[in-house]
């Protein structure tokens, strides 16, 4: 049996992530247990962790620190696969520009930046912020998490901030808005995505299904 723990720090859209995991587990005929929890013992016990996130970074980080999720993640990421989603991905960076500047967990070197206010597309039309809707992800490296998902497949995004990692080696996917930004990061046991796989219909469900069988290696 596979045990996935969805880390609950009071900020995420947890029902969706948990339901999507249960859905793909069932579909793939896997024996699967999904816990939604902040209990350190359950997080240690689980085979894999999902680190979701919705909300403002200052409040997210306050809850993460309050519940010692940062410490648990640092320790657990050495032992098991971790999938970080949206603000969960952003929280893994060193710092974010949001809320006047927030220190984050720092598992990846780099910052979280806001999209500029004056973005325009190739035709000169204004681009809105938040970046909201279905955009394409260019797979910049082969990775088991991309298995069965077409290059430039569409995923659902909703965010005003994006990660700017120091190392391009860790970038697993890029999206244009209108400049390329990092929409997926991979390093050892961590796969982190800016989009919401739990809301990205078939492509997203496939990614979650891949996560259930991923061994935490890059290939």
């Amino acid at each position: 049996m596979t045990h996935v723990a969805v880390i609950d720090y009071g900020m995420g859209n947890l029902h969706s992530v948990a339901k999507a995991l249960e859905f793909v587990g069932k579909r793939a005929g896997k024996s699967l247990k999904v816990s939604v929890t902040s209990d350190p013992l359950v997080l240690q016990e689980a085979d894999r962790l999902v680190f979701p996130g919705v909300g403002a970074m200052r409040d997210c980080m306050a809850e993460i620190r309050h519940l010692c999720i940062d410490e648990i993640l640092r320790e657990q990421v050495r032992k098991k696969p971790v999938l970080a989603i949206c603000v969960g991905m952003q929280a893994l960076m060193q710092s974010s520009e949001e809320n006047g500047g927030v220190d984050c967990i720092g598992l990846f070197a780099g910052k979280v930046l806001r999209f500029a206010d004056d973005l325009v597309d190739a035709q000169g039309a204004a681009l809105k912020v938040p970046h909201m809707g279905w955009n394409q992800v260019r797979q910049t490296q082969a990775h088991p998490m991309w298995q069965g998902i077409g290059d430039n497949g569409r995923f659902y995004f909703v965010h005003s901030y994006y990660v700017a990692p120091h190392s391009t080696i860790e970038v697993a996917g890029e999206t244009d808005y209108p400049q390329p930004f990092c929409s997926a990061l991979a390093h050892k046991n961590i796969f982190a995505v800016q989009f919401h796989p739990e809301k990205s219909q078939e492509n997203g469900l496939q990614l979650l299904q891949n996560f259930l069988s991923w061994n935490g290696q890059a290939s």
Binding site: A56, K128, M132, V158, P178
Partner: protein
């Protein structure tokens, strides 16, 4: 490679059933919200919007269960509006599986609520729903005002200024409904939509009045909407979502 425009079927719900009226009266039963959401998702809808249309008038405790049921089967974004009055209401909806909440009446009664909600949960999940009606006389410069309680109560607030204010308070998206067009099948109020979309930096969803597929194209190309919302044309089988997407694609609009 770019961001696609969105088609959003809207489920106006009353006591756990999808309904659709003309100008908010003459309500027809259109079915079970979970079943309908699933069908639209399978057909390629880009999002689902669930509006509890009587939420400001009555108790809405069953909504959470419906949202949970939809979110268990539908893996595309879900916006829930109606009766969102407190931060706890938002928390409950997000935990039930909603991705965004629509705030309408409560924003008018207490604009600070929008600010608090955006600070707590992030602008990306705060949709301010604006019900606007044209109040200028023929020949005068166009002027739209905000109405609440399903179009029943005038507020005296001017629509463009209100939209800007809501964005400055943290709204991440505007759901703009023309009360004049809603349910009439005579097309979006394109002037209203263009005026609001040009005035705010966040995405605008055009709503109210879709009768043909060309209306959807016009909403995006003339009204400069980022997404188009429709109910009747899909609920009563006039068009399917794939037909709508195909038509929009043929007219040069990037679709998923």
């Amino acid at each position: 490679m770019s961001l696609a425009k969105r088609i959003i079927p809207c489920l106006d719900c009353d006591n756990g059933r999808v309904v659709k009226g003309v100008k908010f009266v003459d309500i027809r039963d259109a079915g079970d919200p979970v079943e309908i959401s699933k069908r639209y998702c399978d057909q390629g809808a880009d999002e689902i919007t669930f509006l509890d249309i009587t939420a400001s008038s009555q108790d809405r405790s069953t909504t959470i269960h419906t949202v949970e049921a939809i979110a268990s089967q539908v893996f595309i974004p879900l916006t829930v509006g109606g009766g969102i009055r407190k931060l706890q209401d938002i928390r409950n909806m997000l935990n039930a599986g909603a991705d965004k909440v629509g705030i309408n009446t409560s924003a008018v009664l207490n604009p600070e609520f929008v600010r608090e909600a955006a600070e707590r949960f992030g602008s990306q999940c705060i949709v301010v729903a604006i019900d606007a009606k044209c109040v200028s006389k023929p020949g005068e410069p166009k002027r739209w005002e905000i109405f609440t309680h399903g179009g029943r109560n005038p507020t005296g607030l001017e629509a463009i200024a209100w939209a800007k204010k809501m964005v400055s308070y943290g709204a991440g998206e505007i759901l703009l409904t023309s009360m004049d067009r809603d349910g009439t099948k005579s097309g979006f109020d394109l002037e209203l939509n263009l005026a609001i979309s040009s005035a705010v930096p966040v995405p605008v969803i055009a709503s109210g009045g879709v009768g043909t597929l060309q209306d959807l194209v016009d909403g995006i190309q003339i009204g400069k909407a980022d997404a188009v919302l429709a109910a009747s044309i899909f609920h009563f089988g006039q068009f399917t979502i794939p037909q709508a997407k195909q038509y929009m694609r043929e007219h040069g609009i990037e679709m998923r």
